[in-house]
């Protein structure tokens, strides 16, 4: 693995990363722009961040978004985990293939269709659109992501752990809570985080299912951008990027150190 860095390698890495991150870097830089005009640099300033916290509309939207994301991620995690457990455990029920396919289908379904169909449902059952309809919609689509993440962990889970718990006197549900859940918890947490971020940045489905008084941050940003991009929007986006990156970094550090620690322990145990 000691391949030398050739010119070709360096160029492809630079281009690749530039392609991925240049727009984001520009956005972050311009959020510190003094000028009101987004594309003209007029010196460093943090005034748009101050401005941002005086914009009640944006703050309200952010608060709605966080609440929606929190509730929908939590409910989706519970339901998605249950779905994953039944898919992995009960391998011999009729129509399992169909059921599996139906859980995964929303992953590849165009969001417009998901949004539209949910809108039709809410209208037809006369459900007043607002905070709860957005939340329900987000539960619906993020559930499948949680199911996929948890299922991939459960496939490698040694079923005899749960049997051992039952053998030692645990009723089945307790055995799940005391043994299975703690073991698969990292997958459940990353499922929750995935659901949370998906809900945080969803625009299409929210636009279809939202109603008065339940504007989410992406909707707000999108509607403001149509009137022209202000540095304020850049500031909001920079904060969002910051929050998401910190979350991702913490999550990866946690899993990484645990893995490293585990390997070191195992080596120590076998060296004895």
């Amino acid at each position: 693995m000691n391949a030398r860095w050739s010119w070709f390698n360096i160029t492809s890495v630079v281009f690749g990363f530039a392609f991925l991150y240049l727009p984001i870097v520009l956005l972050v830089i311009y959020s510190f722009n003094e000028s009101r005009l987004v594309t003209v640099w007029a010196g460093f300033s943090t005034k748009w961040y101050g401005e941002l916290f005086r914009n009640q509309g944006l703050l309200d939207a952010a608060w709605v978004t966080v609440r929606v994301a929190f509730i929908s991620a939590t409910v989706a995690t519970v339901l998605g985990t249950l779905a994953a457990v039944s898919l992995v455990r009960f391998t011999r029920f009729n129509g399992r293939t169909l059921f599996t396919g139906m859980v995964y289908a929303p992953l590849v379904m165009p969001e417009v269709i998901t949004g539209l169909s949910l809108l039709l449902l809410f209208v037809s059952i006369n459900f007043a659109r607002g905070f709860w309809t957005v939340t329900l919609a987000h539960i619906t689509f993020s559930l499948c992501f949680v199911a996929v993440v948890v299922q991939s962990r459960l496939v490698t889970f040694d079923r005899s752990l749960e049997e051992a718990a039952q053998d030692l006197g645990c009723p089945p549900f307790q055995a799940f809570m005391k043994v299975t859940l703690p073991v698969i918890l990292p997958a459940v947490i990353s499922g929750w985080m995935l659901a949370f971020t998906l809900s945080l940045d969803d625009l299409v489905i929210a636009s279809f299912t939202s109603g008065p008084g339940a504007t989410t941050l992406p909707m707000k940003i999108y509607s403001q951008v149509r009137l022209g991009v202000t540095p304020e929007i850049n500031a909001v986006c920079t904060i969002l990027i910051g929050v998401v990156s910190v979350g991702v970094i913490i999550a990866s550090i946690l899993t990484k150190t645990r893995e490293v620690q585990r390997q070191r322990d195992e080596q120590a145990a076998f060296a004895q």
Binding site: A164, L168, G169, P172, E266, A269
Partner: protein, 379 residues
């Protein structure tokens, strides 16, 4: 009549018709879809017995254990534990503990917490529980590892934690699924004796599944040899080894030479088998095969004498050429090819360090054995 050696002669409840079985399988069948894992099986195991189920993988022995532990329900038939029917009793309500093949230690708990798990579940008070855990750790010699997590232990240590956890609740019956499968040979031999001591010390009934015949022979009071969902033979290790009831059992336990022939009677308790390898006289105890029937004479390698000259007065003797010699230290195994092409294995104990002129390759040799050193098998 000389009998087969039974070491624990005083302990033989299976010979007592009045003894009450502790575990009783009655005409148990288990099917998975169209596959029959266990077929119409009946078996009694007695209290304090060390009972082994022996068979190749896929013979249904693990399914039998899982039915006992409650993870599978029999499709047909009844299962009794201490006289109580087990039908419909879920695993967590059975007074049975199991040691899993994969050990199934809870990875997120320390060694002590793993052992305490079942006790906690029973609502045992903390001081009592701590005392029991300490006692168990001492039993398996892991006192200084109480605070470790399972992945910080070696394979042998994990195995002992699993054992401690499964006996911590003092179950009357302990089920062990290939308990020593993951250990290396030396550790396995040590652990076999530890298991036997533990069973004696705690007065438990052990039901163990293994595919290792040596392991079953070493530890068990009785062995059941299984094949394709049925028990082929049940008996003490000596009975299984010295008086197998079929070629399958004879071949599964230890090494054996099987010589085929057509039956002709040869006086009181004897028959002659006429086959491609020559005429072999065998002793029959009960149920002599009919004249003209095909039967087999099974004889263990260590019961065959080997020499350079035709043995005087031997009833059975075969001439052949030395084909292979395997020196194992304690014994030497010599494969002899007969004129018919059959290879017969003979084993001699190396009782002397220095041997003058040992038998070598391609030498002409004579094999001889007594009619009652082997068994006549009809299947």
């Amino acid at each position: 009549m000389p009998s087969l050696g039974n070491i624990r002669r005083s302990f033989a409840p299976w010979e007592d018709p009045a003894a009450k079985p502790y575990i009783s399988f009655q005409n148990v069948t288990k099917r998975f879809g169209t596959f029959t894992a266990v077929e119409n099986l009946s078996l009694n195991v007695y209290e304090r017995e060390f009972f082994s189920l022996l068979g190749p993988s896929g013979c249904g022995k693990t399914t039998l254990l899982r039915m006992l532990a409650g993870f599978e329900e029999p499709t047909e038939g009844e299962l009794y534990l201490d006289g109580q029917p087990l039908k419909g009793v879920p695993p967590h309500k059975r007074p049975v503990n199991m040691m899993f093949q994969s050990y199934a230690l809870f990875p997120h708990m320390t060694v002590a917490d793993n052992i305490a798990f079942g006790l906690k579940q029973d609502g045992m008070a903390k001081p009592e529980r701590d005392e029991r855990v300490a006692q168990m750790l001492k039993l398996v010699k892991l006192e200084q590892f109480a605070g470790r997590k399972p992945h910080q232990l070696s394979g042998g240590q994990r195995q002992r934690v699993a054992l401690a956890r499964s006996v911590a609740k003092r179950p009357k019956l302990l089920i062990l699924d290939e308990p020593l499968g993951a250990l290396d040979k030396k550790l396995r031999e040590e652990t076999q004796f530890e298991l036997m001591d533990l069973q004696q010390e705690l007065g438990l009934t052990f039901m163990i599944v293994t595919h290792d015949q040596e392991e079953a022979m070493t530890m068990s009071d009785r062995i059941a040899v299984m094949d394709k969902g049925v028990i082929v033979q049940t008996g003490t290790p000596a009975e299984i080894y010295e008086a197998p009831n079929s070629r399958y059992v004879a071949d599964f336990i230890g090494s054996v030479n099987i010589l085929e022939g057509k039956v002709t009677p040869a006086g009181e308790g004897r028959i002659v088998l006429d086959g491609p390898d020559g005429r072999i006289t065998g002793a029959v105890r009960d149920g002599a095969p009919a004249t003209g029937e095909t039967a087999w004479f099974a004889i263990r390698p260590e019961k065959i004498e080997i020499g350079r000259t035709p043995p005087e007065g031997a009833v059975n003797r075969l001439e052949g050429e030395v084909w292979d010699i395997a020196y194992l230290g304690d014994m030497t195994i010599i494969n002899v090819k007969l004129a018919s092409g059959t290879v017969v294995q003979a084993a001699t104990l190396n009782r002397f360090r220095l041997v003058e002129d040992p038998i070598g390759y391609e030498e002409r040799v004579w094999l001889s054995f007594n009619p009652d050193s082997g068994v006549v098998l009809r299947s």
